[in-house]
């Protein structure tokens, strides 16, 4: 067990380097002040110990007002630097760069389910290419979990019915641990996974291994499976707003507000359709809560990102074809 001892975790992302610099700064300041206090305590305790035969108590030492105000005000300077520096690292860790690729993560007791835009799905493992900023869009199927990759120094909770995100840019090839750090029940300690950072060309090969088509394609199947197209048909007789070129654009609501059509908005519109009604439309959509899985919603989001003008699938028939097989009558059997 002793040959594995490391004082510091590996720094395998750009954020890790920022966090480690911040850590060293904090340690320098706190270590300095701590040593000063310790030195004063020890030297006073030794120097001013009561000697044998000492009579009476020492005279009063009046408190110095300027000194009191000095140590009341002086820490604020250090704290301001800590706060601002910490805020800078935090903001950069939660605002992904524009070119970040999104990977979709669903947590549940007690596993991690990941989907890549290219279509690969994996459980408790996440493959990412070296050097590419990767944003994780995350939600939970049950209780709160927390995604924690110590070697990347990032941490973010996964909430049921809500999206959170975090991003990272790996700087080293290797495999790294992924932990759930928010207590989630019996096998919380078993909700661990692996992050595999690969060379970009290896990653490309891995992507081509076993995909069932891109996430957007799977999202198109979901779009047809739940018959979204019946109403969101994008044509002149549509009862519901067109979804073409919708993703990321502002949407005018019936109550006068304008909101961006982001991931959270799309999810809410599927699960709680009456929460926000698009201006000019009726509140007629039924909820898909409990029918559609979180992973399917992610696939729909991926699909909507690609859905351009005039690309909504055509409603081929007004009525769906019969899907069951005709009943078998034993009368005619054997012929």
């Amino acid at each position: 067990m002793f040959n594995e001892v490391a004082l510091f975790p590996e720094a395998a992302s750009t954020t890790a380097q920022q966090v480690d610099r911040l850590f060293l700064f904090l340690t320098a300041v706190c270590g300095g002040v701590g040593l000063l206090v310790a030195a004063l305590l020890i030297s006073f305790a030794v120097k001013y110990r009561r000697r044998p035969g000492e009579k009476g108590n020492p005279p009063e030492t009046p408190a110095s007002r300027p000194l009191e105000w000095f140590w009341t005000i002086a820490p604020i300077g250090f704290f301001a630097v800590m706060f601002l520096w910490g805020a800078e690292v935090y903001i950069s860790a939660y605002r992904p760069p524009d070119d970040a690729a999104t990977v979709y993560v669903v947590g549940k007791q007690w596993m991690w389910k990941c989907q890549h835009p290219e279509g690969q799905r994996e459980i408790d493992t996440l493959h990412v290419p070296l050097g590419r900023p990767t944003r994780l869009l995350m939600t939970s199927e049950d209780v709160i979990h927390s995604l924690f990759i110590p070697d990347f120094r990032i941490h973010m909770d996964l909430l049921p019915e809500r999206y959170t995100s975090v991003w990272f840019q790996p700087t080293r090839i290797g495999t790294y641990r992924l932990f759930c750090s928010q207590y989630c029940g019996t096998q919380h300690a078993g909700m661990v996974g692996t992050i595999v950072v690969m060379r970009p060309d290896d990653y490309q090969r891995w992507l081509n291994l076993s995909a069932e088509g891109s996430m957007a394609l799977q999202g198109r199947k979901v779009f047809l499976k739940y018959r979204c197209v019946s109403c969101h048909s994008g044509d002149g007789i549509a009862r519901c707003p067109s979804l073409e070129d919708l993703y990321g654009r502002p949407v005018a609501l019936s109550n006068g507000r304008v909101v961006p059509a982001d991931d959270e908005y799309i999810r809410e519109s599927i699960v709680y359709p009456s929460a926000k009604i698009v201006a000019g439309y009726e509140n007629i959509m039924p909820t898909y809560k409990g029918q559609i899985s979180e992973e399917e919603i992610f696939q729909l989001i991926a699909y909507l990102q690609t859905l351009g003008k005039g690309e909504t699938p055509v409603r081929v028939e007004e009525f769906p074809p019969p899907t069951g097989t005709p009943p078998i009558t034993t009368k005619d059997w054997p012929p």
Binding site: M1, E4, V5, A6, F8, P9, V19, L22, F23, L26, C30, V33, G34, L40, A45, Y48, R49, R50, K55, N57, P58, P59, E60, T61, A63, E68, T72, I76, F79, M82, F83, G86, A87, V89, Y90, I91, D142, V143, I144, S146, F148, P150, D151, R153, I154, H155, M156, D157, P160, R162, R177, C180, S181, Q182, Y183, G185, Q187, H188, A189, V192
Partner: protein
């Protein structure tokens, strides 16, 4: 502080030991169970609070033994989860929060202000019964199957997912919460109305100031906790949909309500310890407390600011960026009054005449560990840093430095400081000093490795863990065994002193407070005549050499 006895030599006074006091006034069980004497109620608390400490201690002992192996040597899964929940619930709600206010506060707050009792003696007894009801209730919930949510009871796990005795445990905590609430109310009224003649606000000992500040936190925070817990219980039973998103609730709302209580509760736990240390250090340094006004006001600054930092427990919980920035900056502000106290305690030692009896050793340990743990808190208040160490062993180590290194050492300091007053007997000097050192060393060995494990990424509440963390866990468990020994030794020498200890006399330490000017143990009414106060506290330079034989 008062002229009446100051300067009078301490030491044995035969007439004190045979006279009637609060202990020998009556011996019947009824006289204890229905007592309204604040001193007897303090002792009624001392026993169950100590028992609860060891119940919580047994739970963590099993966990630390189990964590010697990465796979979990003794327990796993549900059992481990129940053990850390028991440890947290018992230690926080039934030991750390009540211990100093109910034992030392109950006993000494009236005596330090020259009063005969608290303002509402019968309410005080009711507080004790509520505490006992809550404690027994919770222990029954634990014995009848346990609870596995962690002491934080986060929703929707607690309200929708856990199949253990969540509702019953939470009700037990709520019941004991009302005990704290009534105690706080009692203390506030007592400090306002029952101060001795001449004892104006800036002549109050710091222990009174900090207990008074703590009482305000009780009054303002406990109702929020009770409300949040009752809502979780209702959601479990009636499916009302407050916190569970599947029912239309908001799981983060619970975290806000919970930490609105539980962060101030951290100050409930540490402020009384700071009060004790502010009594003990001047006494054994034989020196006035440096910067009295700054220390007194910093208690109040902590109590006030402590209410505005709760969301720093939620920096990675999906909080908005602006909320995170605001709560981070406020969290730094609350560090300032704590720093003021540390600097003033240190300065009190300057040009002093220091002896190192057990209370002083515990207090110096408090200052060292509190400073260390407080500075670890700065890491957690720093947003970019918390993002990495949140919910790891770094956090565990941080708050144990404050709660155990700070509060438990503060309590031990207070118990050793006032023990001779409470029972009229001196405990073993050698054993008590030895214990103070053992606890201090054991504590460091237990929790320093946890900082390293935490920075390396070991998450909390794991019954099994990645093998690279084993060395830190083995070191921590080894340290904990030393710490455990340190907690057991006082169970022997303190009770032993009751029968075999030397009589303490009125004022064995040569201290200035009013509580030292009455016989030990004190008579039921505390003072023969109401003391009159003419000076600020800690005027050690006016005293002659009390400690000389």
């Amino acid at each position: 502080m008062s002229e009446s006895h100051s300067g009078e030599a301490s030491g044995t006074r035969d007439d004190d030991s045979v006279r009637r006091n609060y202990l020998n006034a009556s011996y019947s069980v009824i006289s204890w169970l229905f007592t309204t004497d604040h001193k007897r109620i303090a002792l009624l608390y001392l026993i169950p609070v100590t028992l609860m400490f060891f119940v919580g201690g047994v739970a963590i002992t099993i966990q630390r033994l189990s964590l010697m192996s990465p796979q979990g040597a003794l327990v796993e899964g549900d059992t481990y989860n129940k053990l850390f929940t028991i440890h947290g619930v018992i230690m926080v709600f039934f030991f750390l929060v009540p211990v100093i206010p109910t034992v030392l506060g109950n006993f000494f707050l009236p005596m330090m202000i020259g009063a005969k009792d608290l303002a509402f003696p019968r309410l005080n007894l009711l507080s004790w019964y509520l505490y006992m009801l809550g404690a027994v209730w919770t222990l029954v919930a634990v014995l009848a199957g346990g609870v596995d949510t962690g002491w934080t009871f986060y929703t929707p796990y607690s309200s929708a997912s856990s199949h253990t005795n969540v509702a019953m445990t939470m009700l037990g905590v709520v019941i004991s919460g009302f005990s704290s609430l009534l105690t706080g109310l009692n203390f506030i009224v007592t400090v306002h109305w029952l101060r001795a003649p001449g004892l104006h606000w800036f002549r109050l000992p710091i222990f009174v100031w900090s207990t008074y500040a703590t009482s305000f936190i009780f009054l303002l925070a406990v109702p929020v906790l009770a409300m949040a817990f009752i809502l979780v219980v209702l959601e479990r039973i009636l499916q009302i949909g407050v916190f569970d998103p599947a029912l239309g609730g908001d799981p983060l709302l619970f975290q806000h309500l919970f930490w609105f209580y539980s962060h101030p509760a951290v100050y409930i736990m540490i402020l009384p310890g700071m009060g004790v240390v502010s009594e003990v250090i001047p006494c054994f340094a034989r020196k006035q407390l440096y910067g009295y006004h700054f220390v007194a006001f910093s208690s109040f600054a902590i109590a006030c600011l402590g209410f505005f930092v709760w969301a720093h427990h939620m920096f990675v919980a999906g909080l908005s960026l602006y909320a995170a920035l605001i709560f981070s900056s406020l969290s730094f502000l609350v560090a300032i009054p704590s720093a003021i106290k540390v600097f003033n305690w240190t300065s009190t030692l300057y040009k002093a005449s220091i002896t190192f009896e057990a209370p002083m050793l515990f207090s110096l340990g408090f200052v060292a560990l509190f400073t260390f743990g407080g500075m670890a808190g700065l890491y957690l208040a720093t947003l970019g840093m918390d993002m990495h160490i949140h919910d790891t062993y770094f956090v565990i180590a941080h708050f144990h430095f404050i709660m155990v290194g700070g509060m438990v050492l503060g309590y031990m300091a207070g118990l050793h400081y006032w023990w001779p007053k409470m029972f009229g007997r001196l405990y073993s000097d050698w054993w008590s000093r030895f214990t103070a050192i053992i606890i201090f060393v054991g504590f460091f060995l237990t929790f320093i490795p946890q900082f390293v494990a935490g920075y390396n990424g070991m998450p909390r509440r794991y019954y099994m863990y990645a093998p690279e963390y084993q060395v830190w866990n083995v070191m921590s468990s080894a340290g904990a065994s030393i710490l455990g020994v340190g907690y057991v030794i006082p169970l022997i020498y303190l009770p032993w002193s009751l029968w075999r200890g030397k009589p303490a006399g009125r004022n064995p330490w040569g201290a200035t407070g009013l509580e030292w000017q009455t016989p030990s143990p004190p008579p039921t009414d505390n003072f023969d005549s109401t003391p009159v106060v003419v000076r600020p506290p800690y005027q050690y330079h006016f005293q002659k050499a009390q400690n000389e034989p």
